[in-house]
């Protein structure tokens, strides 16, 4: 019962009788009669204890510096008596039930003038906070804020510490410096369960949500030196599968929420930036992109502008997006201003990086021996034509092409400045970022981004009307070589010198494809992204609100692909120099009027929302190619071209109209339900199939609110939820229901020409997905440990596919509905925990893991369809049908295969008997954030289990050809009777070539591509000092961060994520952030 160590309690058993007697007389009203003269405190305490049932708790040291006291009291209260005792003593006390705890006073209050202080407490959005306790530390004086957030405290010493605390806010302390009115902004207490999460046309919390969604916060995004915000989601969100396509800056990232729902149409989620639909897939135009890749439009959103990213998964939260919600929804919300003192920050970082891995390849000696052996095996004499590497080139040369082409150091640096502030009524935010990134390629490639964003929010004095306007603008200059130079690692190690003595490219009499030709062939993409968003709300009454949100999103892209004469082998004659120019623009306009109504009937809370969506998206693009330039300098000018050809001239429009409604129900914060409906129309469908209805129902039961469960010290929160609903997918492109001709790029007889572009089907209808979900959310130890488990069961029917057709139809396919059913099921687990939280230490850990399963459940007339060879009933969509490699025939030295249909040939579908799943069996991630005093350390690890991915061999042509090879090929078959896993070297033998190409289509050409990657590492130190404060700097943060630092995998190729493309870059950066 006693709290302090080395504790002395008064021995008072002998006095108990007397005390009891006195209490009967005087302590009933708890008054004291006492007269002391220069008595030590300890003795006075004894006297007080005699007159009451109070006991003092203190240590001897505490009383060491006290002065003797002298006073006389009559019928005085305990408080008065104690005040006499502690007057001018370096002590303070606390009355706790019948104990009086005596402590040394922390703040010296000696000779400090007292004053009255007043102040006002508001939250982050400027609203007053009532009922918050304001206490002067040490003095015991305290008060609470009124409904306007105001408080007043009398007799406070200057430099005293004010403690502001409450059940729903983070405790905050500040030093009183003057008598001026104090304005205090408090933060809502972070119980993760009560954090706001953005959903369609509203907000929810993890506690009361009936649907399933995950949130990634600004601070998590800020700890990663990434350019594309999608990169920051890797490993953080269950059910969200992210794959980086290439390590080149700005290039594609594929995103899948809860598996692949469609055989081939649009598997991308719907992206909304502040409510405005944002393009997914790619914005690269008609010429393809640089580095053999394509650009990700999301790279044109500045991660520093993002307040949060919500990933919406189940029917409950996605059905309201109707025809576009099938693949889940990613909501990106930008930062807004905060009321209070104007403050700013400046963040700068700079780092360097390199490709994650390198391959071990043959050196010149081994390579030449391989080539000679190959020709010998083939019984063909090497000639100048087929073996310049043996006969013409300097065979003493050695070049590490890998090192030269992808082994350079990339550099990235970024500066972000923000300024924010405002009053209770109006808040603003201004922010700007500059980022520059280079590549691991030789040459001056890279990307440079400049962005600016602004946001202003205003609320009328009567608080009925609010208006918010925000806009972001970003310009992105991406500059890449035409091809992914990673392919250059195949070059023979004895390949010739790159440059002639005059500085021109050396083509060694046209015997090789100089990779530096590709370095000189450049692809420049300039993208400008403007997003502007307006949000108007008017509260008609306490319960009724109308709103209008609208916005404009515009993506301008200009592309310039230069193919100078100096990059080409001159033997092909002049006129090959080419410059291609593309401009395209995607404009989205959206308007969404809404009305919402809130009603409380007894303990029943009801929310209603109704609204409409009107959207127009226009795309126009013009792609022009100029050829025949007088010199390379004039390539930039189309006017200098001798011929100009229009490659594509496009103009498409997409219109979309939707009506939606949502009802939320909450009874006693215990029983929850949500219903949504949507009616959608899309111009992508023929007139007969244009409109369709969607909807969902979700329910939740917070069983820990039930009385019968009682107060449980372990289980603090428990919710069971379920949802069901329908959504669809309209990512099929425009005008597919029309029979169209489009213009062919080559005119004839001076007349423009038209050709049929597609087979058409005017009857195709919506691809529909039914989503079912069950989940449980549990909180343990006062919600310090949170566990979520969700099981989803999604079924897509009426597959809308570009149905593959034989070429006898004139085309390769037609858009058509297939009677196929695809099922995605999966279990998602998320665990987060505050392991330690105290004054100095804070340790948070979270884990997520997803076990996805994808299955082609049924398919009417599957056996007679054109899909039998690509899919299998009961198997995932991600399969490969492969031959069975039976090793190398010891007699011929060629790969042999199992002939299932015994027809003597290794051919066709019947010998491809084995089915491999090339998808992921499991993926997840882990986050750890540890802070000690001013240090913060965090890490993110990403896990993917993918047991059969196309092996690194797929990069390599047959061993023996004029390409370098991995060192593993040295174990090949050499002579009759040899047993080996690698067939004999071959240069030009047709049978050996066919055996190798069958090998690449056999199970042997797949390997385990599972990996565990240390995705992100972050360490920071917060410097705060009074000197800095005098200089106006309230905070100074020094940090180091790293991406992709370590990858653990058995995969033998460059990288298990990017496979054959440029591997991801590992980057280490250091930086500093000032706040003022």
């Amino acid at each position: 019962m006693h709290l302090l160590p080395k504790l002395y309690a008064m021995p008072r058993s002998w006095l108990s009788f007397l005390v009891f007697f006195i209490s009967m007389l005087s302590a009933s009203g708890q008054t004291f009669n006492l007269s002391v003269d220069r008595e030590p405190l300890e003795k006075v305490f004894l006297l007080i204890e005699k007159q009451s049932d109070y006991s003092f708790i203190y240590t001897r040291e505490t009383l060491a510096k006290t002065k003797p006291v002298t006073f006389t009291v009559r019928n005085e209260t305990l408080e008065r008596v104690l005040n006499r005792c502690f007057d001018n003593q370096p002590l303070t006390y606390l009355v706790d039930d019948k104990h009086i705890v005596v402590k040394q006073e922390v703040v010296k209050s000696a000779a400090v003038p007292l004053q009255n202080i007043t102040g006002r407490v508001r939250n982050e959005i400027g609203e007053p906070v009532a009922g918050v306790t304001v206490t002067i530390r040490g003095g015991g004086r305290s008060t609470a804020t009124d409904v306007n957030g105001n408080f007043a405290l009398e007799g406070s010493p200057l430099n005293a510490v004010l403690v502001i605390s409450g059940a729903e806010i983070e405790t905050q302390e500040l030093v009183i410096k003057s008598s001026a009115e104090i304005s205090i902004v408090v933060k809502a207490r972070i119980n993760v369960l009560d954090e706001t999460m953005v959903i369609a046309y509203g907000k929810t919390t993890r506690r009361y949500a009936t649907g399933t969604l995950s949130k990634v916060k600004a601070e998590e995004i800020a700890r990663q030196p990434v350019s594309n915000p999608l990169s920051a989601l890797s490993g953080r969100v269950s059910g969200l599968q992210i794959r980086q396509v290439s390590g080149a800056p700005g290039t594609g990232i594929t995103v899948q929420i809860r598996g692949r729902n469609s055989i081939d149409n649009g598997i991308e989620p719907l992206y909304l930036v502040d409510g405005i639909p944002y393009p997914s897939g790619t914005h690269t135009g008609d010429f393809g992109g640089g580095a053999n890749s394509y650009l990700s439009p999301l790279d044109n959103i500045n991660p520093a502008d993002i307040e949060s990213i919500e990933v919406l998964k189940d029917a409950d939260v996605t059905a309201i997006y109707g025809s576009r919600g099938a693949n889940g929804v990613i909501l990106i919300t930008t930062k807004k201003g905060i009321a209070g003192k104007t403050h700013g920050s400046l963040k700068v970082y700079s780092g360097a990086g390199a490709a994650t891995r390198k391959l071990k390849l043959l050196n010149t000696g081994e390579y030449l021996a391989m080539r000679r052996e190959a020709f010998k095996n083939d019984n063909v004499a090497p000639s100048m034509g087929n073996a310049p590497d043996l006969l013409r080139w300097d065979t003493t040369r050695f070049t590490d092409w890998q090192d030269l082409l992808i082994g350079n150091t990339m550099r990235a640096s970024e500066v972000t400045g923000t300024l924010s502030g405002g009053t209770e009524q109006t808040q603003f935010l201004l922010s700007s970022t500059y980022r520059k990134e280079t590549t691991v390629f030789p040459g001056s490639f890279g990307a440079q981004k400049i962005s600016g964003s602004g946001s202003i929010n205003h609320r009328s004095a009567d608080k009925k009307f609010t208006v918010g306007f925000s806009t972001t603008f970003l310009t992105n200059d991406n500059f890449l070589p035409r091809s992914d130079l990673t392919t250059g690692l195949l070059l023979p190690p004895d390949a010739p010198v790159i440059y002639n003595s005059d500085g021109s490219l050396n083509w060694e009499s046209s015997t090789w494809d100089n990779p530096f030709g590709a370095v000189m062939q450049t692809f420049k993409t300039k993208t400008q992204n403007l997003n502007a968003n307006l949000n108007l709300r008017y509260r008609i009454s306490e319960n009724l609100e109308i709103a209008f949100t609208g916005g404009l999103g515009q993506l301008w892209v200009t592309e310039k692909f230069l193919y100078p004469a100096s990059s080409l082998d001159p033997v092909y004659g002049p006129g090959g120099e080419t410059a291609a120019f593309g401009t395209s623009k995607t404009t989205t306009l959206i308007g969404e009027p809404q009305i919402s109504y809130f009603k409380k009937i007894g303990e029943h809370k009801l929310e209603f929302l109704a609204g409409a969506t009107m959207q127009h998206t226009g795309y126009s693009g013009l792609f022009v190619v100029g050829r025949g330039y007088p010199n390379d300098e004039s390539l930039n000018s189309l006017a200098a071209a001798s011929t100009v050809r229009v490659n594509a001239d496009l103009d498409t429009r997409y219109r979309y109209l939707g009506f939606f409604g949502r009802t939320g129900y909450n009874f006693r914060n215990k029983y929850l339900a949500t219903f949504t409906i949507r009616r959608d129309g899309s111009s992508r469908y023929g007139p007969a199939n244009r409109f369709k209805n969607f909807g969902s129902a979700g329910a939740g039961w917070i069983f820990t609110e039930e009385k019968w469960i009682g107060k449980n010290t372990v289980l603090s929160f428990g919710k069971i939820k379920a949802s069901a609903g329908y959504a669809a997918n309209d990512q099929i492109g425009d005008y597919k229901y029309l029979d169209l001709y489009s213009s062919y790029y080559l005119p004839y007889q001076g007349q423009s020409t038209f050709y049929p572009t597609q087979l058409f089907n005017s009857q195709f209808g919506w691809e529909k997905i039914r989503k079912l979900e069950m989940g449980i959310d549990l909180g343990f130890f006062r919600d310090r440990v949170l566990l979520s488990a969700n099981y989803y069961y999604n079924t897509t029917t009426n597959q809308l596919v570009s149905y593959t057709l034989p070429a006898t139809t004139g085309f390769s396919g037609v858009l058509k509905n297939l009677p196929a059913v695809i099922r995605n099921t999966g279990l998602e687990l998320e665990l987060s925990s505050t392991i330690i939280k105290n004054r100095n230490w804070n340790w948070n850990a979270s884990f997520n893991i997803t076990f996805p399963q994808n299955k082609l459940v049924s398919f009417q007339d599957f056996e007679s369809s054109t899909y039998t060879n690509f899919y299998a009933l009961g198997k995932p969509l991600s399969i490969a049908r492969v031959f069975t490699n039976t090793g190398v025939d010891p007699a011929t030295g060629l790969y042999s295969f199992y002939d299932y249909n015994k027809d003597g040939l290794i051919n066709g579908s019947e010998d491809k008997h084995v089915i491999l799943n090339t998808g992921q069996q499991c993926f997840g991630g882990m986050q750890q954030t540890l802070s000690y005093k001013k240090f913060t350390f965090s890490l993110v690890a990403q896990l993917a289990i993918q047991r059969t991915v196309p092996s690194f061999l797929n990069r390599f042509p047959r061993p023996g050809a004029r390409f370098n090879q991995p060192r593993a090929v040295l174990e090949r078959w050499k002579a009759d009777g040899d047993y080996s896993n690698i067939q004999r070297f071959t240069a030009v033998n047709s049978d050996a070539l066919n055996a190798y190409s069958n090998y690449l289509e056999s199970a042997a050409a797949y390997e385990n591509g599972s990996y565990l990657r240390l995705k992100n590492l972050y360490i920071s130190y917060q410097i705060g000092s009074s000197k800095l404060k005098q200089a106006g700097i309230s905070g100074l943060n020094v940090f180091a961060e790293a991406s992709n630092l370590v990858t653990i995998t058995k995969y033998r190729g460059l990288d298990p994520e990017t496979l054959q493309s440029l591997p991801p870059v590992k980057v280490v950066a250091v930086g500093i952030q000032f706040t003022f």
């Binding site: 000639s383 100048m384 034509g385 087929n386 046209s510 082998d569 004659g573 002049p574 006129g575 090959g576 050829r627 025949g628 050809r645 496009l650 103009d651 498409t652 429009r653 997409y654 219109r655 111009s683 992508r684 425009d734 005008y735 029309l738 029979d739 169209l740 001709y741 489009s742 062919y744 080559l746 004839y748 007889q749 001076g750 007349q751 423009s752 020409t753 038209f754 050709y755 049929p756 087979l759 593959t804 057709l805 034989p806 070429a807 006898t808 139809t809 004139g810 085309f811 037609v814 039998t868 060879n869 040939l905 051919n907 066709g908 579908s909 033998n989 047709s990 070539l993 066919n994 190409s997």
Partner: protein, 432 residues
């Protein structure tokens, strides 16, 4: 309120106007000009005894070794492009029949051209693959489950289309406004007749072959000019050419065959080159040499303009008069009209600087005609490959050259694997 577009045109609108309907047919010639001649000459030249490969890609090596995989991309290209052209021809024929707004003369001309294109494509298909499906509509429901029909049936379809084209097409060459032009870049009645004569020859209808080839030979505007002007644009020998429209090229054959470097793709087989008589002008004028140290590489040099062309001197010649002489010579020889046949073959020989042949018996004359065809029409639209098969000499001639891989079944290309997978009603050729 629903979508609209500017750069795309729906089929109905397209066939409501003379100019737009014509643009659909012109587009096919543009597409063909974009490399089709080389695709055919390259693959058939490797399969026969004309070309050898220097490539290290499997598709080329297999072609040259007559060991073609069912995944060979050239086989798929020949198959797929032909059926795409056939689709376009069918789409145009359907569009024309549904349109009520076209000028009659334009409608007739376009219908004739579409049927001509269809016949031209089937001729290539039947010679590469043997039995093939006949597709005469745009209905993908039907066309995706279609069966192969015998070569005889395919030839019947071709003859039917060509007979119809002969009726429909004008004797003069047309420009986009359907007016007469000197550019021989769209098929006319004589182009259809010339192709029909070839088809007659391939199916052994000797009398009709003689009749049709004579009809072309007798047209005044077609003559055999000097050997160096045969392949120039609007050459007086040309019956049908493709206008040069691809930037940087005059013709694909010129662009890809002419060697200015050590070959990495194809060159002429040395034994093919040495089969010419030394004084044959075609050996000297139509075959080029590239010397690389001690090695000499030969290449077809009928077209003189390579890549990087800035002015148009040559058009791709698809049908020309010399072939009509050769057709007639063979047809006449088969009908035992040996003196007339000799006259035709000597016309070709004289133009090549060779002396007259005389006193040959039927068999020897037919052999000489085949050799003349080989030397006159090499690397032109598969003539050599088709002739070897047609005259049943492929086994004898190719077997020693292509051992050990040559098999009699190699005379037909495989039906592309993807087609078999997508249409279970298709059956593979023997040997694949």
């Amino acid at each position: 309120m629903w979508g609209s577009q500017k750069k795309l045109i729906d089929t109905k609108t397209l066939f409501d106007g003379d100019a737009t309907a014509t643009s659909a047919i012109l587009s096919i010639y543009s597409q063909m000009n974009n490399g089709w001649d080389y695709t055919i000459a390259h693959s058939s030249g490797l399969s026969s005894d004309e070309l050898i490969t220097w490539s290290s890609t499997i598709d080329d090596i297999d072609l040259a070794a007559n060991n073609i995989s069912t995944r060979n991309t050239y086989a798929l290209d020949v198959w797929g492009k032909n059926y795409n052209y056939i689709y376009q021809a069918n789409s145009i024929l359907e569009g024309l029949s549904e349109s009520g707004k076209l000028t009659q003369a334009v409608r007739t001309q376009l219908e004739g051209e579409a049927k001509f294109i269809r016949a031209f494509s089937y001729f290539i298909l039947v010679n590469y693959f043997g039995a093939v499906p006949i597709v005469t509509s745009t209905d993908y429901g039907v066309n995706s489950k279609i069966r192969r029909v015998s070569p005889d049936s395919v030839y019947m379809q071709i003859e039917q289309d060509l007979n119809s084209a002969v009726e429909l097409l004008a004797e003069d060459y047309k420009n986009p406004l359907n007016q007469q032009t000197s550019e021989r870049v769209r098929p006319n009645k004589w182009a259809a007749t010339a192709l029909l004569a070839r088809v007659n020859l391939f199916v052994g209808k000797w009398a009709e072959a003689e009749l049709n080839s004579s009809a072309v030979v007798n047209v005044a505007q077609y003559i055999l000019p000097d050997i160096n002007t045969v392949f120039l644009k609007n050459s007086p020998e040309a019956i049908w050419q493709w206008m040069s429209v691809v930037p940087g090229f005059n013709t694909a054959s010129g662009g890809y065959f002419i060697l200015e470097y050590t070959p990495y793709d194809v060159s002429l087989r040395p034994s093919f080159v040495s089969s010419f008589q030394p004084n044959d002008l075609r050996r000297n004028q139509w075959i080029g040499e590239f010397v690389d140290g001690s090695e000499v590489y030969y290449y077809p040099y009928k077209y003189k303009v390579g890549q990087g062309a800035s002015t148009v001197l040559e058009h791709t010649t698809v049908l020309r008069l010399a072939e009509q002489y050769l057709i007639r010579a063979e047809a006449r020889a088969q009908q035992d009209k040996l003196p007339d046949a000799l006259a035709d073959i000597n016309a070709i020989r004289n133009r090549a600087g060779l002396g007259d042949l005389s006193g040959l018996g039927k068999s020897a004359l037919l052999d000489s005609i085949t050799i003349e065809r080989k030397h006159e029409l090499f690397t032109e639209f598969g003539d050599r490959w088709f002739t070897l098969k047609r005259t049943q000499t492929a086994n004898a001639i190719l077997s020693p050259l292509k051992s050990p891989n040559w098999q009699p079944t190699d005379q037909l290309y495989p039906i592309p694997l993807s087609e078999l997978l997508l249409n279970r009603k298709l059956e593979q050729n023997p040997g694949y």
